[in-house]
Symmetry: C2
Subunit: 155 residues, 2 copies
């Protein structure tokens, strides 16, 4: 008998850090940026995220395996008649699960959660080199209306 | 005798809302989005911003006039070895002050404040039609490395 394993998306705990950091590092851009062998900076960051009620760091699990993650941030603002924005960051899908539709499920979940949290607008930025991701977000209804600028303050 | 009026950048209070909303509305994109004749949605949003310790909504004043505004948001995260990001939103300079260098002073102040608040990275998005703004941010050291996607959840 075949059983379809249920996908669960839940708040991340500190015990999820090794799996999350492994996914952050297993990525063309993340490989050069992350340090999965030393979790201490991630533990400190987890404390900052977990202590801020406007941060929603989640993992996706299926059959006991952690297969995806993203972070949703709720940002109140004045512009657009006092609109609240939800910002999606650090979306990752486990290498074994790419092409499975999990990315779509994760983003649709995040949009629905943003709506529940009172957001009027969901936004995200994607590195200009991630052209597959751009098509993916456009298919899901996002509009590439902006340029995203960054400035590093430390190395 | 000529006196040079000092520029002050300080935390916004509810009393600043009319001046801030007037600046948000006096803008090619803001004109269609804002409702300066009805401040009630802005008052509600101000309460949300003021109650969140990670939001820093400021105004710039000179000689008793409110001439600029921006909002800085501190977002802890796991990626880039637990980097904290500062996001700049809703930057506006009063029409009478454009070209005066005030925009540069505001953004430089925001980058310095972001550093004091522990940010490793400062980021912002700018509407693709604001080409003058893009040159401005590049001159200040920002890199246009990303595409910015948005999805509206309400009208």
């Amino acid at each position: 008998m075949t059983e379809t394993a249920v996908l669960t998306i839940r708040r991340a705990t500190e015990a999820d850090l090794p799996a999350i950091v492994a996914m952050l590092a297993d990525d063309p851009l993340g490989a050069a940026r992350e340090s999965p062998d030393d979790l201490s900076p991630y533990r400190a960051a987890f404390g900052r995220i977990d202590g801020d009620p406007h941060q929603h760091l989640v993992v996706a699990e299926r059959a006991g395996r952690t297969i995806g993650t993203l972070q949703l941030t709720v940002v109140p603002g004045l512009s657009r008649q006092g609109s609240t924005r939800a910002i999606i960051e650090a979306v990752r899908v486990h290498a074994d699960e790419r092409g499975s539709g999990l990315g779509t499920e994760l983003i649709r979940w995040a949009v629905e959660r943003a709506r529940e949290l009172g957001a009027d607008l969901v936004q995200l930025t994607s590195d200009a080199t991630r052209t597959d991701a751009h098509r993916f977000y456009e298919r899901l209804g996002f509009v590439p209306s902006h340029l995203g600028f960054k400035m590093k303050l430390s190395d």
